[in-house]
């Protein structure tokens, strides 16, 4: 990446510390890939939650301590005694014939928990394993590294298993249940996308020494509580499609320069932090800066993006149909605002060439609704 682009991204972030991509934020790329605002905030390492809060729309996400605790307890249990439970699952539930299994803890290296150190060690043992002379078969919390938009993002899968059919497999340990063989599809999808970031990072690592990407499977092993118990069960999840999708999104970040070039000179999302880390920049000024970047709000953002309340209020202020969601939106193909819909429906606006058909349908629908109101309707 060209230096000037980096400089501009740094300027966008301003005085705050750079936030690196995590598997979670990479996975979130998939949810609204066309959003420029989000792409820029992420690429510049800006703190979306802090920005949204300062702009007067704090993010809707909190995490319950119960959920966190449950997640940790479950992961520990699966990994206890050199992953005894996990091995049982791989052998019994997934019916894998595993050779003699080793276990390598990469959580810290001789007491050193720094990402760089762990990454070096991870590289060493994984490459050894790939070349067929590593002892470990299960790697606990390896530290992977993926360059994203010219920056290193350190990624930490729960577990990487080697030699399931001679290939590396990413193992995701999640605490949502698989009940009677079925799990919540949204949660499975989120877990899978996250695992895709690991797959890509792992392939990247091996590619640097010329090992083919086939060495890393694009099927993940999902480990989750069985039914309502605390005992785990496992399932294979095919992640091929999502690996491809995420790779595309990553390639897009590499082209972030194209987006940056379109920004007005001097634009920044700087919060103007003082030495006590308090944001000093006037909130309206920040909002003005944000408003200069196109965002593609949709209600689903409320589930994924820290900026959602901010973007929703902006979409509301613009009378954007996006506020009402895709089901409503798709009825009015080619029209963007509620004002335009009503203008065409009531015949106050003259349709453009491509709107003629839509306008006729709208006037018909408006006539129908008007007849109903004459009827008295419900109120």
């Amino acid at each position: 990446m060209k230096a000037p682009v980096d400089d501009r991204l740094d300027a966008l972030r301003g005085s705050a510390k750079r936030l690196d991509y995590s598997a979670r934020s990479l996975a979130a790329l998939e949810n609204n890939p066309r959003c420029t605002l989000r792409a820029l905030l992420d690429a510049s390492g800006s703190d979306k939650a802090a920005i949204a809060a300062h702009a007067g729309h704090p993010s809707p996400f909190g995490q319950s301590a119960f959920a966190l605790a449950r997640g940790n307890v479950f992961e520990t249990m699966v990994k206890d005694n050199g992953c005894a439970e996990l091995l049982r699952l791989l052998r019994e539930t997934l019916q894998l014939t595993l050779p003699e299994v080793g276990y390598e803890d990469l959580n810290d290296i001789g007491g050193d928990g720094r990402a760089e150190v762990r990454h070096d060690r991870t590289k060493q043992v994984l490459l050894q394993a790939a070349r067929g002379n590593g002892g470990g078969t299960l790697f606990d919390h390896p530290m992977l590294c993926l360059p994203v938009g010219g920056h290193k993002a350190f990624l930490e899968p729960d577990l990487v298993a080697f030699r399931i059919g001679g290939r590396f497999h990413v193992v995701e340990i999640k605490s949502f249940p698989i009940i009677d063989g079925q799990a919540d599809p949204t949660q499975v999808r989120a877990a899978t996308t996250q695992a895709c970031a690991y797959i890509i990072a792992l392939r990247n690592l091996l590619a640097r020494v010329g090992i083919d990407k086939q060495a890393v499977s694009d099927t993940i092993v999902l480990v989750a509580p069985k039914d309502f118990t605390n005992r785990p069960t496992a399932a294979f999840v095919d992640a091929r499609k999502q690996v491809a999708a995420l790779s595309r999104q990553l390639a897009r970040i590499e082209r972030i320069g194209d987006l940056v070039d379109l920004l007005p000179e001097g634009l920044t999302f700087d919060l103007g932090l003082d030495k006590d880390k308090r944001a000093r920049r006037p909130a309206e000024e920040l909002a003005e800066a944000l408003d200069q970047v196109p965002a593609t709000y949709r209600p689903d953002c409320l589930n994924h993006c820290e900026m959602a309340f901010y973007c929703r209020s902006r979409a509301r202020a613009d009378s954007s149909l996006d506020v009402l969601g895709p089901a409503v939106r798709e009825q009015f193909g080619g029209i963007d605002t509620t004002t335009m819909v009503l203008g065409l429906a009531q015949g106050r606006l003259t349709p453009t060439q491509d709107q003629v058909e839509m306008a006729a349908a709208l006037r018909h629908a408006a006539r129908l609704r008007a007849e109903l109101n004459v009827l008295g309707g419900a109120e």
């Binding site: 909190g62 995490q63 009940i179 009677d180 309502f228 005992r231 018909h364 129908l368 109903l372 419900a378």
Partner: protein, 503 residues
């Protein structure tokens, strides 16, 4: 969604208030519904935290699980909630009418929960309870499996369109009103109510903002807000645990009443709002055909009651392939019928279908009232034809069978042709039924020129799906013998299934 409903949402946005989507309420509201507000613990699978339950606004009972991870406390909770629900259900098992195999209870229970998540919580609870054994080492109170089976029955039934034994209040509200927000936000009871009936003195904007502020409007569940969990609930549960470990009875009682109070603070606003929503829904007139669907609910309720009385097995964990296909068939049929019923009863819904081209209304421009044909059995029967001119974007093809809400009941017709006519459409239909038995159609049974008339497709024409009997199912689609045996009836295994911790 049709363009007309989409337009209603746009109108709601512009006028900043909810607008009606229907003229009627298409769901029956019992005069004595049982409201349940279930709360579950975040992160845990199917871990009940509390429930408020009762059949009148002033008669809510709060049930709390002080340590939701504890197995015994969960079952104690399931038993008390179960007793309330089973008593309620039993109160409808009386006054059976009709004779022989066709006798039925005249009314059914109706459980209302705030949102879809509430149904999911009850489904989980049902799944956890229905296989339990009431004897042996893991014995639970008798009511637990009974409760589980009834919950499962109600949840299964709720998937069928048009039924009303278990309903989410947000669902009924959103069926009747369009708001200026998305489906996602409409699932939040407080946000939905903000548009329909904001609290006195508040604008819709203010009420919407409050609805998303967990300190003003605690979430309607089933999960509590993370802020509440971290700030209040986690420390309170910890105090309870500590007191229990120390065996300090006074501290235990104090911790328990603290917890109740905290949870009451979270659940009561939703309780009140649910009853407000119910009152609001009562003010909407009930659609005429609701009664027909209610009668089916009565039949289903009666037959499941009888099945329970005969000691029937709990519902299996997963359907067999045939069972699943059959069920899908029923669900589709029920949906088609429900949609047609609504359009038949309700000019709003009819208009909706018209805007999508799935129904049409217009003026009769031509009629051949005395047209007859000779049937295969050599009988002459009246088959009048009429042509209707409509502005609607008709998307129905020739041979579609039709019903008409503007004609006497029993009227049936079939489309002969659909032809464009300037900016309008001419639809010619042949009347095939509802004309009486005589050679000449009964008076008023055939549309006449200049009459306004509406038609919509008859969902009844769809043939019921045929499935091979279970002995003729290819082996690839049947559950293996082992599975069939183990599935619904594996009490040893299922009764011992963990649910929470045994501490």
């Amino acid at each position: 969604m049709s363009m007309l409903s989409a337009l209603a949402h746009v109108q709601a946005t512009e006028s900043m208030q909810a607008v009606p989507l229907t003229a009627f309420r298409h769901r029956r509201l019992s005069s004595r519904p049982l409201v349940i507000i279930p709360l579950v613990m975040a992160g845990e699978a199917g871990a009940p935290l509390a429930a408020m339950v009762g059949s009148a606004r002033r008669k809510g009972t709060l049930l709390v699980v002080a340590q939701p991870r504890n197995r015994d406390q969960r079952f104690a909770f399931a038993a008390s909630l179960g007793r309330t629900v089973i008593d309620y259900i039993d109160s409808f098992r009386q006054g059976r009418r009709g004779g022989g195999g066709h006798s039925r209870y005249p009314d059914t229970p109706q459980i209302l929960v705030p949102n879809h998540g509430g149904i999911k919580a009850l489904a989980d609870l049902g799944r956890m309870c229905r296989f339990r054994s009431t004897s042996g080492p893991h014995a639970v109170p008798d009511v637990v499996p009974e409760f589980g089976m009834w919950l499962t029955f109600l949840v299964d039934r709720a998937e069928q369109a048009g039924t009303s034994m278990l309903l989410p209040v947000t669902g009924i509200l959103a069926e009747h009103w369009a708001t200026g927000q998305s489906t996602l936000e409409d699932q939040n009871l407080a946000s939905l109510m903000a548009w329909i009936a904001p609290p006195a003195g508040l604008s819709v904007e203010q009420a919407m903002a409050d609805a998303e502020n967990p300190d003003v409007c605690p979430p309607a569940g089933p999960a509590t807000s993370p802020e509440f969990d971290n700030r209040d609930l986690a420390p309170a549960i910890k105090r309870f645990d500590t007191a229990r470990t120390l065996g300090d009875l006074r501290a235990l009682a104090a911790a328990e009443s603290d917890l109740r109070e905290l949870i009451a603070g979270q659940i009561q606003p939703t309780w009140r709002m649910t009853w407000e929503a119910i009152a609001l829904l009562r003010s909407v007139p009930e659609a005429p055909r609701t009664i027909k669907r209610f009668e089916r609910d009565c039949a289903a309720f009666t037959s499941y009651s009888d099945y329970r009385d005969s000691g029937g097995l709990p519902q299996r964990k997963r359907d067999t392939a045939i069972g699943a296909a059959q069920r899908l068939g029923w669900l589709e049929r029920a949906l088609a019928e429900f949609e047609s019923d609504m359009a038949f009863d309700d000019p709003f819904v009819l208009a909706d279908r018209r805007s999508a081209g799935e129904a049409f209304a217009g003026t009769v421009v031509e009629a051949e009232p005395s047209r007859t044909v000779t049937t295969a059995s050599n009988r002459r029967v009246p088959r009048p034809r009429v042509t209707i001119r409509t502005q609607d974007p008709v998307r129905l093809a020739a041979d579609t069978k039709l019903l008409s809400p503007s004609m006497p009941s029993g009227h049936k017709a079939v489309i002969v042709s659909v032809l464009p006519d300037g900016d309008a459409t001419l639809v010619t239909v042949e009347v095939t039924g509802g004309m009486g038995r005589a050679r000449v159609p009964a008076r008023g049974s055939v549309p006449v020129p200049d009459q306004r008339i509406a038609y919509l497709p008859d969902p009844g024409w769809r043939p019921a799906p045929q499935f091979p009997g279970s002995d003729r199912t290819p082996w690839t689609h049947s559950a293996t013998a082992g599975e069939t045996g183990a599935d619904p009836a594996a009490p040893e295994d299922a009764a011992a299934e963990e649910w929470g911790n045994e501490d």
